[in-house]
Amino acid sequence: MEPQDYIDLKKIKWEGHLDRRKISIAVLALLAIIIMFSSVFQVGTESVGVVLRLGKYHRTLGPGLHLKWPLRLETYDIVPAERQLKEEFGFRTEEAGIRTRYAPQKYLTESLMLTGDLNVASVEWSVQYRISDPFLYLFKVRNIGETFRAMAEAVMREIVGDRTVNEVLTVGRNELSVAAQLKLQELCDQYLTGIRVDQVIMQDITPPDPVKPSFNEVNQAQQEKEKLINEARADYNLAVPRARGEAEQTIRRAEGYAIDRINRARGEAERFKSVFTEYRRAPDVTRRRIYLETLGEVLPKVGRKLFVDKETGNLVPLLQLGKEGQNQ
């Protein structure tokens, strides 16, 4: 669409002076073709076309085939306004897909940054944005791609610079992206870029490589701590509930003993009382009866029995009963 056409036209005209007829037809035909081709243009699906008439903004067109004034009377720029665009910092996607492949090399100058406590963190992130105002995008800032990258880097570093390395690595992670998005949008508006920042996505936020092992060590130690505590708790749980049960057992057993003891006492007391009542009616007889009954009960059980008479003094046993005696 650049005005090379003009130069051709001029040359042809000069030559046309020599042989008017034939060449003037050719010239007219060529002119017609050039005008035709320079009057039609296409805008892709994701884009809009911005048309300048005589250098001045005239209209914005959606996707499709469009007519314009020929030659440089109207010029147009295509802006991918509907497409979501992405800038990556600290890493590069080499091949997007189901399993996206990333470039193996590190972009340390982009990713390493100072935190507010003057430590260093490696932050990788990407920005998704859209061209919301094609007019501003085209006519207010030159070389907007690089501008945008520089802005995004400055913003991220500013935000990370106001946080501790711990915040950046752990608790403040989500907050980072929100803060960065707000700040970057603010800057985009200030520079009249016509860009709307859709999302700032934090990718890997890690300690710098040489420091990584020591960060892992902290995690490890943390887990070790948990493990030790858990083991001790397990030990506790193994012993204490059992001891509680055993204690309960001791107490119950004592209870049983108490009940047993008292019941027996009561029973025996009652028994005695009953016997005693009878006894009082005829003390002598009862006494004797009991004595004899007892002996009657005892004697058969006893293996060896010795009867001693007063007259025989303390002499040899007269009679031996029981198994032993029988065997002799």
């Binding site: 003009y6 005209k13 300048l52 005589l54 250098g55 001045k56 903004y57 940054m113 100072l114 507010g116 406590d117 207010k140 802005m151 400055a154 570093r157 500013e158 610079g161 501790t164 390395v165 915040e167 752990t170 608790v171 420091v211 020591s214 060590e217 130690a221 070790e224 948990e226 030790l228 505590i229 001790a232 708790r233 030990d235 506790y236 012993a239 204490v240 001891a243 055993e246 204690a247 001791t250 107490i251 004592a254 209870e255 003993y257 009940i259 003891r261 006492a265 025996e268 005695f272 016997v275 006494r287 009991i290 007892t294 006893v302 293996g303 029995k305 010795l306 009867f307 001693v308 007063k310």
Partner: protein
Amino acid sequence: MKQMGWLTIVILGVAALIVIWDGLFIVNEKQQVIITRFGKPVGNPITEPGVNFKVPLLHKAHFFEKRFLEWDGDRNQVPTKDKRFIWVDTYARWRIEDPLLFYQRLTDESRAQSRLDDIIDGATRDAVANHDLVELVRSSNREAALDPSLPEADLEEGLAQIEKGRSNIMQEILLSAASKSSNLGIEVIDVRFKRIDYNDDVRENVYERMIAERTRIAQRFRSEGQGDSARIRGEKERDLKQITSEAYRQAQEMVGKADAEAAGIYAEAYNRDPEFYQFLKTMETYSRALDEDSLLILSTEGEFMRFLQRARGR
């Protein structure tokens, strides 16, 4: 006549072409133009888009950018006020505010870029050298959110308080650069630190410090783990003792009470006739105490054998 007509047409045609080619020009939205006659500026700069006319061949149109332009500085190694060597990388936005002045002082953009290098780099160096590193890094005195899982006491440097902060220092650089470039027809709109980094030596030291800090935290975790574990084990011992002894105490109390109660019951009953009680109990004891292996010696004088003796004796 015919020849004359021809010639006239040709001359007019050529003149028309020259006028169209060199006299008319389109200024678009991105451009601004000044016109010179043999190097001397003519008229006012054209900043609005549209078709314009100049005298062909005599006048010359110079096109300049109207948009915001980029400036990206080289990385500079600069010491801060607290003597730390850092790399500073800045970028700036600027525009040609007065194309005429710009043309007179700088002619074109590449010379402008090189002047901006001097101006902005200088201003940056001054600003960096006059401030502590933390002032360049931090932009507010916000409090750090704490990671609840990390022991706070072990974090060496929290967020130090600042007086000015990054944004204000950038503003200072901007003001300084803007004032130095205003007589060049340039407006510097914004200067920002793109990157501030430690140089390699300093970075090594920082890494070592970070490693030491993490090691300390790790050690604390380990020691805490051992401590807690010991405490729990102690608790276990204590609880065990407490539980068992408590149970023992209760059991003994119960046994004692029961014994006492039983004794009371017995006493109450047997006190009616202690002698008879003794007799009964003795009888009971006999029947329990004597068994197959016992040897029982009975005198005929005893109650049991009395009759036996009497029968024989009489």
